[in-house]
């Protein structure tokens, strides 16, 4: 018996489509009750992993266990997991209530009990009044909630979410992120959340896995992934990073080990300003200034070649700290260098 219960375990799992290795020797564990995100660009294998858990795909190699039970060869309708689909996949010929009750109806739960629980679920997702509507009479955000209610009503061991907020506009997306997160705490079900949006993954997850080319580049808590990216890919995909390699790394830090430095960690001063002990520093010329509202980004062309991005908070009344063409000195504590293992 394990001490901490495992909801999902992948053990050397591979899934190939012809020549394409969609998932290539992937192993990880998701703890019970965890909010776990799978983050990566499109085609990185994250959705295939989700479909492997749901049972829509079968692995070509390796083992998948859900709550300690091997699920190879088990069809989706016999698995204790439910999915919120990217396009919601609501049944267009059924009302919202009928959609939500579908899983219970299939399991032959008595109609009265079904209705009671679907009312409860619709209240949870704040759609009490919408039960008699058809899905095409709802907005995108409302459909998303119906899909969520339809999955959660079955009280699955694991809830799989395939980019559920992808089709919503920014404001609604941020609101739903918070609601999803608090809903997950409320129901205590393991959430496996697939997204290509790094902000979403960082904001919602207990832990996340960063996927690239069918493999996992790094697994960890959001702050760990952001502050200590293991590879150049993670540094570049999660947030914005200056990746310094080869000659540039050599010039800046004194050795050729590649490293990443976040644009917001770099201070920008006048070229003749002194540099504190233990800081790296380099001079250059501001090439471009881009205003982003809360922040401003500067592209600085270094005097000895290469370019670094610098980001500053606009806390001084929106006035840029430097104008294009100005000579500046960039400096940051050596300790903030994020040393990278893998090649870019």
């Amino acid at each position: 018996m394990q001490q901490k219960k495992t909801a999902v375990r992948f053990d050397g799992v591979a899934r190939h489509f012809g020549e394409v290795r969609a998932v290539d020797d992937v192993s990880f564990e998701i703890g019970d009750g965890e909010f776990f995100s799978m983050l990566g660009p499109s085609g990185s294998g994250k959705t295939t992993c989700l479909r492997l858990i749901a049972g829509f795909e079968q692995p070509d190699a390796g083992h998948i266990a859900v709550h300690g039970v091997n699920v190879e060869g088990v069809p989706p309708y016999e698995r204790d997991v439910n999915t919120v689909f990217q396009d919601y996949a609501l049944f267009p010929h059924m009302t919202v209530s009928e959609n939500v009750e579908y899983g219970l109806m299939i399991r032959k739960v008595a109609p009265a009990e079904r209705r009671r629980r679907s009312r409860e679920m619709l209240a949870l997702v704040k759609l009490e009044a919408m039960g008699e509507r058809k899905p095409n009479q709802l907005s995108g955000g409302q459909r998303q909630r119906v899909a969520l209610a339809r999955a959660l009503i079955n009280r699955p061991g694991v809830l799989l979410l395939d980019e559920p907020l992808g089709a919503l506009d920014l404001k609604l997306r941020e609101q739903m992120q918070e609601e999803l997160k608090s809903l997950q705490r409320q129901v205590g079900i393991t959430f496996v959340y697939v997204t290509h949006d790094q902000n979403e993954a960082l904001a919602m997850s207990d832990r996340l896995a960063v996927f690239n080319h069918g493999r996992i580049e790094q697994i960890g808590a959001p702050a760990e992934i952001y502050e200590h990216p293991a590879t150049a890919f993670v540094a570049g995909f999660v947030g914005v990073s200056n990746i310094c390699e080869g000659g540039l790394a050599q010039r800046l830090s004194g050795n050729a080990q590649p490293f990443a430095i976040r644009p917001e960690k770099i201070t920008m001063t006048a070229a003749n300003e002194p540099v504190p002990e233990g800081w790296l520093s380099v001079t250059g010329q501001v090439r471009a200034v881009t205003y982003h509202g809360a922040t401003t980004r500067y592209a600085v062309a270094l005097d000895d070649g290469g370019e670094l991005a610098v980001m500053r908070q606009n806390d001084s009344g929106g006035r840029p700290a430097a104008a294009a063409g100005e000579s500046v000195r960039l400096a940051w504590p050596r300790a903030l260098n994020q040393l990278l293992g893998g090649a870019a």
Binding site: P76, N82, H93, G103, I106
Partner: protein
């Protein structure tokens, strides 16, 4: 130089006017087909209806152009009722069989076939429509004849007893396949099958595969998914197809004339009445019957929600 100058003032003014008045544009676009439908199609239907209220003078054989129910009195006799029942039963049997055969084909085409296979199947479904319908019916006469391929195959496989047993079934059997109701049924089924497959394909194409996945995800076995999700969503396609197969069988006079026993179908009765018998009013009254049957059929179909998803 402005665009107006390039295109010439008149053409430019006209295209601007049409762009700014979309209703006018629509009217111009729809006028020819509307006139066609209104005058030629509905007009001929009305003329038909009108004719059916005339009657023929038994003594002189002249058509008397006066309103009368006399022709309808002639229409509803026992002998004619047999014709209606025979035709409607055949149409219903062909429709049900076509739906049962077409659904799996359509389902395979939409859900399982590769792009290439799908193109091949589309071609296979449409290919018979490229050749003359008459030629195909005669080809079937040869296939089903007593000296034909089916009999020969039955002999080779030592299944002559089976063929004989089928042909000895009362009413639908007969001396040979080509002179029995079974024969006309088979040929009707073959000829109209594409008209059932294509609408079902179109309906199934509109059911995204994520819906079947969602159903399975929520615990439904493939059988339950079929019953609760696929069939209800594809049903409008089945109804559309059944309207084709049902009405086409109802009105056809060539197939039962070539293949089957010589008992007449509605189409043959109309053909004889307006031709050799020269009784246009009764022929018209006969034609009103399939129109009425189709109207009832559509009302029932609507009652069962067949058009809700359109």
């Amino acid at each position: 130089m402005t665009l107006a100058a390039v295109r010439g003032p008149l053409v430019h003014r006209m295209s601007s006017a049409l762009y700014l008045h979309p209703r006018l544009f629509l009217l111009l676009l729809l006028a020819p087909p509307l006139l066609w439908l209104g005058i030629i199609y509905l007009g001929s239907l009305l003329a038909l209806l009108l004719q059916s209220f005339f009657y023929i003078d038994d003594f002189s054989g002249n058509i008397i152009r006066e309103f009368s129910m006399a022709t309808y009195g002639q229409l509803f006799t026992m002998a004619n009722a047999d014709v209606f029942i025979r035709t409607a039963t055949m149409a219903a049997a062909v429709t049900i069989a076509a739906a049962l055969i077409a659904f799996p084909v359509a389902y395979y085409m939409v859900r399982h076939a590769s792009m290439r296979m799908k193109a091949v199947l589309y071609l296979a479904v449409m290919l018979p429509l490229w050749s003359s319908y008459l030629v195909r019916v005669y080809a079937w006469k040869l296939i089903l004849a007593k000296e034909g391929i089916v009999t020969w195959f039955a002999q080779q496989l030592h299944l002559t007893w089976l063929l004989d047993a089928v042909l000895s079934i009362p009413v639908i059997g007969g001396p040979s396949l080509s002179t029995s109701y079974i024969g006309s049924f088979l040929v009707f089924l073959y000829i109209w099958l594409p008209f059932m497959i294509l609408p079902i394909v179109a309906a199934l194409e509109r059911v995204p595969s994520s819906l079947t996945e969602a159903s399975a995800d929520l615990g439904a076995t493939p059988r339950e998914t079929f019953r609760k999700v696929i069939l209800p969503l594809a049903f409008p396609g089945v109804v559309a197809g059944s309207i084709f197969t049902f009405s086409l069988t109802l009105g056809d006079y060539i197939i039962p004339g070539i293949i089957g026993n010589s008992r007449p179908f509605i189409g043959q009765a109309v053909y004889q009445l307006q031709g050799t018998a020269g009784n246009i009013p009764l022929a018209a009254a006969f034609t009103v019957v399939p129109v009425a049957i189709m109207a009832i059929y559509l009302l029932v179909a609507r009652r069962y929600g067949a058009f809700d998803a359109l």
